[in-house]
């Protein structure tokens, strides 16, 4: 049997990482609830497993999502992941082809060139030699890009890259060493035996010219093995744990397991799946507008992993969802924040025993302005007028002030406290016997949709409801020649997936322009209720930057559909800020005026 | 503390105090609370200083307590006071010397009212005439009995046997002075030294060798407050006020408290017992209270009168530790013997406050 003592570092590392990973898997599964485990069992023997395999190939190996963000960066990740993967597969095939015994020790294919330096004898050996050299070159191109990225990350389209901790440095150093060392080891060996492919062979002969390769080869193999061993051992303590974890993540996610209100095994998988690629840093407006670089999801997840969460870190996030949107691993970052806040605000206790049972009224349509809605009275006024105009009989549930919907408390991690408020509101809503619930506030709508269990009702954001009224012919709109740009509120767009209705509505009244950042990539206005620590100055800065980007083409109006966005942009926008409801009301007024004028003209004509 | 600053204020608040021939008006409650005080005052005035002072058995209450408890209207009060003035006039005196601070305040208030509203004075004269057929002259000089003692404080010191000094250490005793609210709060110029830094008792303490303690709650009410005490459910306010004062003076370790009002010594003395029972707290050294004396008792002490003649056996807080400090001899066995030498009985012992 082929053995050499230098393979020990590699072998020890490999055994360690495999045992560790298996132990982690067991722990993750144990931390799932019974229902989640059932999902897992059901999923394994379903088509979902194939979907998952496909996703693993596409994402973990080919890094499709990173490609979309930035091709060069995608190539770098792909060359490393896919290249290495192929190197292992092909190495095994090569070893098997050369030496067709049933089981090889795991190190044998890895150090194949050491054990079988003069391989030009077996079938397809030239092909394998070429292929293995090609794959190594492919990987090395990625590694050089990685070197380059570390020193000049701007070139790869990333303004900022995540900062490293000491275990990460070990792992990174090892990873950076592995392939150059393999190249050296193989080249030296090829130099001795005058074998090898186009890369190692050529390089080997070149080295042999002026170097004592027969003395250098063995130490190089040692170094290669040590680099591999070091990498494996530092893996669990470094960000590179994401490599195996992400695969588990993909399977679990496809089986329908999610992180939820309580920390479960999946939440931990998500945390460990973060590759710290740092893509979340640049999309974060706290980074781009405020130059603040210690709170983004990558740092946040690192603190979760390091068990060093602070209130400040958990609370410093607008939860706009832009990072979740772009995260190549697809981590549910808002839920992660929520879980952290749940923990840091654990001691927070509310007492809402003072709240009375709300008065209710029998109605079909309920209108709810929300706390923020009450700070934009013109929106409320418009909604009342439009609803009256359309002949809708409705109950303005929080006309005399509301009990908060509970979303802000939930955003602070206080689901149980929020539930006390929700119970009061829900009772009043259900007692009304209504079937339609309309709110002006996306923040409220989000929680009414997700937490209120109002299945018997149809919930609408007012933009949706107004569009419905238009379709039903209850309101008429006329297109004006004014230009409007629409800002997607975070909770409405990324939060609830409502992108089209406000646009359809606006398009019937104005010429709608799409800004650069729109839809799923829309910016946050800065008025977020989720960020607990941001100062007013910082908020204003974010709002100014966002408003400037939105209005770069000088529209007549900056239109939004959220009272908080409206209020925030009002201080920052160079053009007038309107809520869709206000536009609709203005359109109706305008039509009314024209009709009145016309009828007066007709009357005058008749009189004449 | 800068004494010059106080002296400047004292010099601004000086009042005229008659030299002789006083018409003395006793207090309703003092004779019960601190029974020897008024007797000592008369003894000192008549025997030691040789002054002419009329102690008139015919006089009544001024209605002050009832007036300040909102039970008697001002017109009635003024008419009652007018009768008292008529008694003075009939007795041939012009200098009115009340023993009670509330009376003093009330007389001041009435005289001030009459000065600004002669029609009210006329009406009161009419009421008095209709009800009693009496007429009166307004006092030429109104001085509280403590003003008079203040006036003669140096003569008392000269004649006296003791000083407010610890006879063992030679250190002056630390004395808290407490002025009745009605002494100068309403009319600062009618009190010696004014309202903020009243001098009447300070002058006595200085003349008799003591050292005045100026503590933060000096201005606070003793806790009587009329309705605060008289309505039982309000007594919490009363005792809380006294407690506030004790808490504030405690760090200064005062040896005694001197007062010039009927209510104050009573509440400052008796509440020390109540607080000790309710909270287990005492304010003097070693579980003792802080002895509370009237200015007449203090003057009598200086004069060297027998402690039991000064009525100290009627105090709740034992005065013996103070007597020991000054070096006044006393016969502990004579404490509860009456004037006729008969045993008058001993009070029950409190649970916390030390008594002798």
């Amino acid at each position: 049997m082929n053995f050499d003592v230098f393979t020990l570092p590699f072998s020890v590392g490999l055994v360690f990482i495999i045992s560790y990973f298996l132990a982690m898997c067991i722990q993750w599964i144990r931390n799932l609830s019974a229902t989640e485990r059932l999902l897992l069992v059901k999923g394994i023997f379903s088509f979902k497993t194939f979907t998952s395999i496909k996703e693993v190939v596409l994402e973990s190996l080919l890094h499709r999502k990173i490609f979309r963000v930035n091709p060069l960066l995608g190539y770098m990740h792909m060359s490393l992941a896919f290249g290495w993967f192929m190197l292992i597969i092909m190495g095994n095939l090569e070893a098997r082809a050369y030496n067709p015994i049933p089981i090889h020790p795991p190190y044998y294919p890895i150090f194949f060139r050491f054990f079988e330096p003069d391989t030009g004898t077996f079938k397809y050996s030239v092909f394998y030699e070429f292929l293995m050299d090609f794959l190594l070159l492919f990987i090395l191109s990625g590694v050089s890009l990685a070197y380059f990225k570390r020193f000049r990350s701007m070139a790869l389209g990333m303004k900022r890259t995540s900062k490293l901790k000491s275990w990460d440095k070990w792992a990174l150093a090892a990873l950076w060493m592995i392939f150059p060392l393999r190249l050296l080891a193989e080249s030296f060996t090829s130099g001795i035996y005058e074998s090898g492919g186009f890369l190692t062979g050529t390089l080997g002969r070149f080295f042999a010219e002026f170097l004592p390769v027969e003395y250098l080869a063995y130490p190089a193999w040692w170094a290669y093995s040590i680099a591999l061993g070091t990498f494996f051992i530092s893996l669990p303590f470094s960000r590179y744990m994401h490599i195996p974890t992400e695969i588990v993540l993909i399977f679990f996610r496809n089986y329908g397991i999610r992180s939820s209100e309580k920390i479960n095994g999946f939440a931990d998988i998500e945390v460990k799946s973060c590759s710290r690629c740092g893509i979340c840093i640049d999309v974060c407006q706290m980074s781009s507008s405020l130059n603040q670089q210690n709170t983004q999801s990558v740092y946040f997840l690192r603190s979760v992993r390091d068990r060093s969460m602070t209130k400040s870190l958990a609370d410093q996030c607008m939860e706009c969802g832009r990072c979740s949107q772009i995260c190549p691993v697809g981590i549910d970052l808002n839920t992660q924040r929520y879980l952290a806040r749940r923990r840091v605000h654990e001691e927070f206790r509310s007492d809402f025993s003072y709240l009375p049972d709300l008065q209710t009224r029998k109605t079909d349509v309920i209108f709810f302005a929300g706390c923020m809605g009450h700070l934009t009275p013109s929106v409320i006024h418009s909604m009342k007028k439009v609803l009256d105009h359309a002949g809708i009989r409705y109950w303005f549930m929080d006309e005399d002030g509301s009990i908060c919907c509970g979303r802000p408390l939930k955003l602070a991690g206080k689901a149980e406290e929020a539930a006390q408020l929700m119970k009061k509101n829900r009772a009043a809503i259900l007692a009304s016997g209504g079937t339609t619930f309309v709110t002006s506030c996306p923040i409220c709508l989000k929680t009414f949709t997700e937490d209120y269990d109002l299945k018997q009702m149809r919930l609408y954001h007012h933009s949706q409801y107004l569009l419905k009224l238009w379709f039903e012919g209850k309101i008429q709109l006329e297109k004006q020649m004014q230009k409007a740009v629409y800002h997607d509120p975070c909770e409405l767009g990324r939060g609830l997936g409502i992108y089209d209705e406000p646009r359809e509505l606006i398009q019937r009244m104005m010429i709608l322009k799409e800004p650069e950042n729109t839809g799923e990539n829309a910016l946050c206005c800065g008025g977020s209720l989720a960020h607990q620590e941001m100062s007013s100055v910082q908020r204003r800065k974010i709002a100014f930057d966002a408003a400037a980007k939105l209005t770069i083409d000088h529209p007549d109006y900056l239109v939004t559909a959220c009272p908080s966005c409206k209020k925030t942009f009002q201080q920052a926008s160079p053009v007038e800020v309107k809520d869709v409801a206000e536009l609709v009301y203005a359109a109706i007024q305008d039509r009314g005026r024209k009709t009145a004028l016309k009828s007066r003209e007709i009357a005058a004509a008749e009189a004449n | 503390m800068k004494l010059e600053g106080k002296k400047r204020i004292w010099s601004e608040y000086q009042k005229e105090i008659a030299d002789d021939h006083y018409y003395y008006a006793r207090s309703c409650i003092r004779q019960n609370f601190f029974p020897a005080s008024e007797t000592i005052f008369l003894r000192i005035m008549q025997q030691e200083l040789g002054k002419d002072i009329k102690d008139d058995a015919r006089h009544t209450t001024c209605t002050g307590i009832a007036y300040h408890s909102d039970l008697v209207p001002f017109d009635t009060t003024m008419t009652v006071v007018a009768r008292l003035f008529s008694l003075m006039t009939e007795a041939g005196y012009e200098n009115y010397a009340p023993s009670c601070i509330t009376s003093f305040g009330l007389y001041s208030e009435i005289l001030e009212t009459w000065e600004h509203h002669p029609e009210i004075e006329a009406r009161v004269r009419e009421h008095l005439w209709k009800s009693t057929r009496r007429e009166f002259k307004k006092p030429k000089n109104l001085a509280h009995a403590s003003d008079i003692v203040y006036k003669f404080r140096h003569r008392i010191a000269e004649k006296g046997k003791y000083r407010l000094v610890n006879h063992k250490t030679g250190e002056p005793l630390k004395v808290v002075e407490h002025i009745g609210c009605h002494y100068s709060r309403m009319f600062p110029h009618k009190g010696v030294g004014g309202a903020e830094y009243p001098y009447v008792l300070v002058g006595m303490i200085e003349a008799w060798g003591g050292e005045v303690v100026d503590y933060p709650e000096r201005r606070h009410c003793c806790g009587f407050g009329f309705r605060q005490y008289l309505v039982k459910s309000n007594r919490g306010y009363s005792i809380s006020s006294s407690r506030k004062k004790f808490e504030s003076m405690e760090p200064f370790k005062p040896d005694m408290i001197i007062t010039n009002c009927p209510g104050c010594p009573y509440f400052l003395d008796r509440w020390q017992y109540a607080i000790s029972e309710m909270e287990g707290k005492t304010y003097g050294e070693n579980g003792n209270g802080i002895p509370v004396l009237t200015y007449e008792e203090t003057a009598g002490l200086v004069m060297g009168y027998d402690p039991w003649d000064l009525g100290f056996q009627m105090h709740q807080v034992s005065v013996e530790p103070l007597l020991d400090k000054i070096g006044v001899p006393y016969d502990p066995y004579a404490k509860y013997l009456g004037v006729n030498g008969k045993f008058i009985g001993t009070p029950e012992h409190p649970e916390v406050l030390k008594v002798y």
Partner: protein, 343 residues
């Protein structure tokens, strides 16, 4: 050449004298003290920009040089009007003649000892804002604080807005002075808490609100809404202050190392005396009354007698300078119109 006598060598008197002299009038400046500068000469740094008061006085003095006859240590004994001229008799028995008089006799600080309950002159650690300016100038601040409580209190409206001392008016500049001094105290004594006890904070001037915000934000100065009712001294010699925190609706007791009284403006003795001598009218606040509160703010009711600065009520330095210049214009107009009439 027209002759003007300016009475009072503070900011108002110096500024108006210099301006009048620049316009070519012959000016005599009469000051009872032995030096010019008035109250401002006593201050250390000024609000709202922490500028040394010295700079103002030096600059004003420089402008007076050689152009104005300055009579220091001189008081006016009487003033007589004859044939449109004023004969002003000085205590030096000298008699000056002038075509116009400008009263710039200013204010006095309210004597803090009159608020007996604050114990100024009695308690060791109760001082006035003016005393504090002097302490700032001497650099002895650390010597006047005991370090027992690490707290300093500043009482607003001492002698202002107070019927009990007969001054119902607002002295206007004390609020911002309190804020300025609070900042200076925090700068000099970073380990001390500083409390401002106020009834209303009247940040009327430009940048005053910024100063107020700076005091809160940067220096953590505490503002307690409530008038201090009394001060006393505890056994350690600290000043104990009682105040109601009216916004909390609770009385409060606090011991302090130092209590600073922001004493208000009262008409100076000179202002009262000159007013009496000329039989001018006084306002209900006992400051001199201008002929018209809006249109003739620098005119007295007497022809040829003009008013400038704080003799007509509390003013900041900037306002006093503006007022002095306004008075100069009025005097110039008076001379011009008079000439026309005579022609």
């Amino acid at each position: 050449m027209k002759n003007v006598i300016v009475i009072g060598g503070g900011v108002a008197g110096m500024e108006s004298s210099a301006q009048l002299a620049d316009m070519g009038y012959q000016v005599t400046l009469v000051e009872k003290e032995s030096k010019l500068g008035g109250h401002v000469d006593q201050w250390d740094f000024l609000f709202p920009n922490h500028r040394p008061a010295r700079e103002i006085i030096d600059s004003l003095k420089q402008r007076l040089n050689y152009k104005v006859e300055v009579k220091l240590g001189t008081e006016v004994e009487s003033m007589q009007r004859n044939n449109g001229q004023y004969a002003v008799k000085l205590n030096s028995t000298e008699v000056l003649h002038a075509d116009a008089l400008l009263l710039a006799s200013g204010f006095d600080l309210f004597p803090a000892q009159k608020k007996e309950e604050y114990g100024y002159g009695i308690y060791n650690h109760v001082i006035t804002a003016a005393d504090l300016e002097e302490i700032f100038r001497s650099g002895n601040l650390r010597k006047v604080v005991s370090g027992n409580t690490h707290r300093i209190g500043i009482v607003h409206c001492v002698g202002s807005r107070d019927e009990k001392v007969g001054n119902e008016y607002c002295s206007k500049v004390c609020c911002v002075t309190g804020v300025k001094q609070a900042i200076r105290l925090r700068e000099a004594l970073p380990e001390y808490e500083v409390f401002n006890f106020y009834m209303d904070l009247r940040m009327f001037g430009r940048y005053f609100e910024d100063l107020y915000r700076e005091a809160q934000e940067k220096w953590g100065v505490q503002f307690v809404r409530g008038r201090v009712s009394e001060a006393s001294e505890d056994v350690k010699g600290n000043v104990v202050v009682k105040v109601e925190d009216t916004l909390a609706g609770r009385p409060m007791k606090i011991s302090l190392d130092l209590l600073i009284l922001l004493t208000g403006f009262i008409p100076s003795k000179g202002t009262s005396r000159l007013g009496d001598l000329l039989q001018l009218e006084f306002g209900s606040d006992r400051f001199l009354k201008p002929a018209d509160e809006h249109l003739l703010r620098n005119h007295s009711k007497l022809e040829g007698v003009f008013l400038a600065g704080a003799c007509t009520g509390p003013r900041s330095i900037a306002e006093t300078i503006t007022d002095a210049r306004a008075a100069v214009l009025e005097i110039a107009a008076f001379f011009r119109d008079k000439v026309t009439v005579h022609e």
